[in-house]
């Protein structure tokens, strides 16, 4: 399977997951966005050495994931490219901060190790919650939510079309790659000298196709506004859950048990 098909599969899989019907899927996307932002803000506000405080925050993604029926391992697999930078930054800490702050039995643990663990944990927690948002809301729902908070229609159209055109673009790419491979049997990949014309051609073809598509959308009555018709309604429970979550997060952050 080549990279193009892999990319298409990932997009398909994510859209499919967002179509689910768990309790979390039924919460309004705006509320979920708010919950996520609050969680990330609170998580990153923990002090550099506050490992014990931060540890309690693990409970939130654990509970949310149970309700959302999303698997942790899939989340980790999808986000394997995101963590390395955080881990590299964290790994430097033990080398520069060697002051012993804690003894476990007779083994001294330095401040650097604690701050490394805190950083990695923060990274993981933020990613878990962001992924939860991704996995439980579709792009159309998010765009409608963005319109509700008065983000310009121009911008939501741009986001929606960009997302739709990725598939179109990848389709053009695989057609062109296949045509190239048929013309150059036995050759691995695309010859370096042909990259410019290949990609340039790809851009021109995709732009033409996108314009034709958009024109046909306009001819069928699209006026820059997404139609709300047919999308699921959200219950008032969304707001209640959001407030409850907010209270719990603040409680965990500022009240020491």
């Amino acid at each position: 399977m080549n990279k193009t098909e892999q990319a298409r599969l990932i997009i398909g899989r994510l859209s499919e997951q967002a179509e689910g019907n768990s309790i979390v899927h039924r919460i309004s996307p705006l509320c979920k966005l708010f919950i996520t932002i609050v969680f990330i803000g609170v998580t990153t506000s923990y002090g550099k050495y506050d490992l014990s405080g931060l540890f309690v925050m693990i409970l939130f993604p654990v509970i949310w994931y149970q309700f959302a029926e999303v698997s942790f391992s899939e989340c980790l697999y999808r986000l394997r490219y995101v963590m390395p930078l955080v881990v590299i930054m964290g790994l430097a800490n033990p080398f520069f901060d060697k002051e012993i702050v804690l003894y476990v039995g007779r083994v001294g643990i330095s401040g650097g190790v604690i701050s490394m663990l805190v950083l990695i944990l923060k990274g993981l927690l933020c990613l878990f919650m962001s992924y939860l948002l991704v996995a439980t809301s579709s792009i159309e729902e998010m765009c409608i939510a963005m319109r509700r908070i008065h983000i310009p229609a121009f911008f939501t159209t741009l986001i929606l079309l960009t997302f739709r055109f990725v598939t179109l673009f990848l389709e053009e790419l695989s057609v062109m790659t296949e045509a190239y491979q048929l013309r150059a049997p036995g050759q691995k990949g695309i010859q370096f000298g042909a990259w410019g014309s290949f990609l340039g051609q790809l851009i021109l073809r995709s732009v033409d196709r996108a314009q034709a598509l958009y024109e046909s959308m306009v001819l069928r009555g699209y006026s820059g506004e997404i139609s709300y018709y047919g999308y699921k309604k959200y219950s008032k429970w969304s707001v209640l859950i959001t407030v409850l979550n907010l209270c719990l997060v603040v409680l965990v952050r500022y009240v020491r048990f």
């Binding site: 803000g41 901060d97 986001i159 673009f169 851009i203 598509l213």
Partner: protein
């Protein structure tokens, strides 16, 4: 270059959101002025923008290996977008890419979105375009070189420089958040060379694409065909430089060392750090005593509302340092403007 949430402190994230939102406002204003949002005009603009964003999006999904480093990188695409769409549309397209990555793929943090927009779209689409790409590509700088070569030079130069700036911003933002013990110098030495390699590859790819598009559809590369566009750049350049100065001053001043500067150190020493008083002078009472000096000192202590780069009554406050960094650069800019204005008035008088 996508930053994760954990790498940023909430205050730094908020600052970067502010900077990016302000630039977005300017971009929307500029496009509205050009009537880009009208149905007639958007027929061409929106699908082109969307398909170019999706190209960048797909390009960023596919990482390529950087030879001899064991690391991998992906294209950033800002320079290509601004060459084909114009800087302001390119900036919005890039935001669309980053929002999709953040909200639908969890790549790049939600709180770090402001910083990511700044590091990737601002430098690539706006700064790189106005200060590097357009002057070179439109023939302002290299007049005797043909358009094709100018495009190649412009793409490579702007890709490398904007990626370096972006990488340096990542270092500054992470440093200002205080989450890593990695010294500033070591982190810079880690980030810059790797982005030099990425920038070079991206520059080559961008130039190859742009040359092809130029040869087949020259009207798509506006800064080469539209002679009108190259003229009114001075004001825009000034505005951009002002914004950059403010942000850099704001972030940089978080690092401002509380140790005395060279001059202060040589005069008064730094006893807290264990140095002897170099010239043995008392900071509050030195020099020749005269009534004029006393008056001047009392005036200075009243007018300097940001003594030693912090708010007057709160010396340990980091926010004070960063506010005074921004204010300081604003005051310097105002002073420079006054000097220029005075010079202009002086010259016109002299001519008359």
């Amino acid at each position: 270059m996508h930053m994760a949430d954990a790498l940023l402190a909430p205050a730094v994230a908020a600052t970067m959101y502010g900077a990016s939102l302000a630039t977005t406002g300017v971009a929307i204003y500029k496009l509205k002025k050009e009537n880009s949002f009208d149905m007639e005009d958007s027929l061409k603009k929106i699908p082109t923008m969307a398909v170019m964003s999706s190209l960048v999006f797909a390009g960023q999904m596919i990482n390529y290996t950087i030879p001899a480093t064991g690391s991998s990188g992906h294209i950033c695409g800002g320079v290509m977008l601004s060459a084909l769409l114009g800087p302001w549309s390119a900036f919005l397209s890039m935001i669309a890419v980053l929002v999709i990555q953040c909200l639908f793929f969890a790549d790049g943090g939600l709180m770090a979105l402001g910083a990511n927009v700044w590091n990737m779209s601002f430098y690539g689409c706006i700064l790189g375009y106005f200060l590097i790409f357009r002057p070179i590509a439109s023939g302002k700088i290299l007049k005797n070189v043909n358009a094709r070569s100018r495009l190649i030079i412009a793409s490579i130069a702007s890709c490398i420089i904007t990626l370096q700036l972006g990488a340096f911003s990542v270092v500054l933002e992470t440093g200002a958040s205080g989450i890593t013990e990695l010294p500033f110098g070591a982190f810079v030495a880690l980030m810059q060379p790797i982005h030099l390699a990425i920038g070079l590859v991206e520059g080559l790819a961008t130039s190859a694409i742009l040359v092809f598009v130029y040869e087949n559809r020259p009207e798509m590369i506006t800064c080469l065909t539209d002679s009108k566009e190259g003229k009114t750049s001075f004001k825009t350049t000034l505005v951009i430089l002002a914004i950059v100065a403010c942000v850099i001053a704001g972030v940089m001043s978080q690092f401002a060392s509380s140790n005395p500067d060279g001059l202060e150190w040589s005069l008064f020493g730094n006893e807290e750090a264990g140095y002897a008083a170099n010239m043995g002078l008392d900071e509050d009472d030195y020099g020749v005593q005269s009534s004029a000096a006393v008056v001047a000192d009392s005036i200075q202590s009243k007018t300097a509302f940001l003594p030693d780069y912090a708010f007057a009554n709160d010396e340990d406050n980091r926010l004070g340092t960063s506010v005074s960094g921004v204010l300081g650069s604003a005051m310097v800019a105002a002073l420079a403007a006054i000097i220029c204005l005075a010079g202009k008035i002086f010259r016109t008088k002299k001519q008359a």
